[in-house]
């Protein structure tokens, strides 16, 4: 129930999670006449029926703006919208509901921090630290900020095993950087970074810390306070919510010191002739009419995940991920990138003699959906010496049989292009 802390009466086991597959309408359609093996969860997760119903119900019964309408449907919309905020705050360990800003996604949230905090507080000559495994969305805003503000842009390299170079990080901390921007889980290598440890060290060196939780929120427990971040960004559609949702978690006091990003309705207090004053937080950062239905859907996604239990989900994902690596390792000609000690079920690989696009195309024909390309991580792929990779990324609803189909598909593609079995 929105607004109340929830303890599920029964923890979901592996069988329950596999059965949860029927919660996802899109998985039931079949692909190219075969059962749909969806292995691209790092790109986006399928959306459960519970989330779809919540969104449809809003449009059918409420369909009003939030915070403004004085009639009952408006009050109802506002109640459900703010209940979603409260749910997200609890889910991600935010200090309070005022510390959750809704944005269209993690990308917008990073840009918001780069603009609202970075442009105001990063002085010329200061250092901004990112890592070579960052998604473009947590790389480009800092690259531009550094250029605009005359700051030093430093990139922590990735080691051959897919972990971050700790010595380089330590070296960067020595002159007290302004910011460290770090991904919790790599969308290419599946590496789970030691965020709490690194955030602690970064803050000890006087830096602010931004954690990109796009690949971790909804897949393993993520707690803003325990991670020790100043800013945490997440993406709704990567945690079984709708596209167009996501946000920034930060201390309300931190948000108050920042400049707004977009200006317009909802985020303003007094509009004067020459000057205007802003609303409090988080409203200051939520200009315009929000995607109310989608945010309510996000709230439903949080409830859905809490009912299934994040620990159970994380365990299942870990088991599936290990099975995926084992399955791929057995295949001739397959090279897996990254081998971090702690790893999400995101595996990028190359197959000798096959271009990722051709492999993905053949797999599509066999009802298996994977991703191919630069995976929005050109600096990382360049460091690995490749232009493109194929990536399989799993959700808790995937099955071992689907991994077998991936392996068979790879074999079939190799034979089609004349590389034996």
């Amino acid at each position: 129930m929105p607004g109340k802390s929830r303890r599920p009466t029964c923890r979901a086991g592996a069988a329950d999670l596999a059965a949860a597959r029927s919660d996802f309408p899109v998985l039931g359609h079949g692909l190219r006449g075969r059962p749909y093996a969806y292995l691209d969860n790092a790109a986006t997760c399928p959306t459960p029926r519970q989330v779809l119903r919540a969104m449809e119900s809003y449009y059918e019964t409420s369909n009003a703006t939030v915070r403004r309408a004085l009639y009952l449907p408006g009050e109802e919309a506002t109640r459900r919208f703010e209940a979603a905020r409260a749910g997200v705050a609890r889910f991600l360990g935010a200090p309070s509901e005022r510390g959750v800003v809704f944005t269209p996604g993690a990308t917008a949230a990073v840009n918001l921090v780069a603009h609202g905090w970075g442009r105001r507080f990063v002085r010329p000559g200061r250092r901004i630290v990112v890592t070579a495994m960052e998604h473009h969305s947590n790389y480009l805003p800092w690259q531009r900020l550094a250029r605009d503000r005359g700051a030093v842009f430093s990139v922590v390299p990735v080691r051959p095993d897919g972990t971050l170079d700790e010595a380089a990080f330590a070296a960067f901390l020595r002159d007290r950087p302004a910011l460290v921007a770090l991904t919790h889980v790599s969308n290419v290598l599946g590496t789970v970074n030691p965020v709490a440890d690194w955030a602690g060290r970064a803050r000890g060196a006087g830096a602010r810390v931004l954690v990109d939780a796009a690949q971790s929120a909804g897949h393993r427990p993520v707690d803003f306070g325990r991670l020790g971040a100043d800013f945490l960004v997440f993406s709704g559609h990567k945690m079984y919510g709708p596209m167009g949702t996501g946000g920034l978690v930060a201390d309300p006091g931190q948000l108050e010191r920042m400049d707004p990003f977009l200006l317009g309705g909802e985020m303003v207090e007094q509009v004067g002739r020459r000057r205007s004053t802003w609303a409090g937080v988080p409203a200051k950062f939520e200009a315009g009419t929000p995607p109310v239905a989608a945010v309510i859907g996000l709230g439903a996604a949080v409830e859905y995940l809490l009912e299934r239990g994040l620990e159970a989900i994380a365990e299942r994902e870990e088991a599936l991920g290990a099975a995926l690596v084992r399955r791929l390792e057995r295949l001739p000609g397959v090279r897996i990138y990254g081998a971090a000690p702690e790893r999400a079920p995101i595996v990028s690989f190359s197959v000798r003699g096959l271009h990722p696009h051709d492999l993905a195309q053949v797999l599509d024909g066999l009802g298996v959906a994977v991703r191919a390309g630069h995976l929005c991580a050109q600096p990382l792929l360049r460091g690995l010496g490749v232009d493109a990779l194929t990536r399989a990324s799993l959700g808790f609803f995937n099955t071992g049989e689907e991994l077998d189909r991936l392996a068979e598909g790879i074999g079939r593609a190799r034979r089609l292009f004349g590389h034996g079995s």
């Binding site: 271009h355 195309q361 053949v362 599509d364 191919a372 630069h374 493109a388 292009f417």
Partner: protein
């Protein structure tokens, strides 16, 4: 269409045994093409004899479709005039990138194997990269011979 039908015999043959593909020297290269999304790249060289293309040669790397397209293109180019080839390149682009109304007729028989890509719009860029490079190479070659 089943993706395995996309990679039917003609395309696979050209992908595995590309015609006219050989390492080029830097100074021969008239045009380059690159697909930043996946790193496919091509470099083209060609000669014009009395306004007609002699031989198109190319090097680079890419997916099977981009290689097959370049191979088919290199064979279709031989003996055609620069204007004919520019028109053909534009026709390939319209046919594969454009909407159904502007698509026009089927591609000529020598490159009809590329028709299958119409059902896979995400791969259109793989196929058209070499044709765009060809248009640029023709402009360069034409300019040089007038020089």
């Amino acid at each position: 269409m089943d993706p395995e039908a996309l990679y039917q015999e003609v395309l696979l043959d050209h992908a595995k045994r590309p015609r006219n593909r050989e390492p080029l020297r830097g100074e021969e290269v008239l045009a380059e093409g690159k697909n930043p999304l996946c790193g496919d790249s091509i470099r083209l060289a060609l000669s014009l004899d009395g306004g007609r293309v002699g031989r198109v040669r190319y090097d680079g790397k890419g997916c099977a479709l981009s290689i097959a397209s370049a191979s088919l293109m290199s064979e279709a180019a031989r003996g055609r005039t620069a204007e004919e080839l520019r028109a053909l390149a534009a026709r390939v682009a319209r046919r594969l990138h454009g909407d159904a109304d502007a698509a026009g007729e089927d591609l000529p028989e020598e490159i009809r194997a590329l028709e299958g890509v119409r059902q896979f719009p995400m791969r259109a860029h793989c196929v058209t990269m070499c044709w765009r490079a060809l248009s640029r190479a023709l402009s360069r070659a034409g300019g040089a011979s007038r020089g």
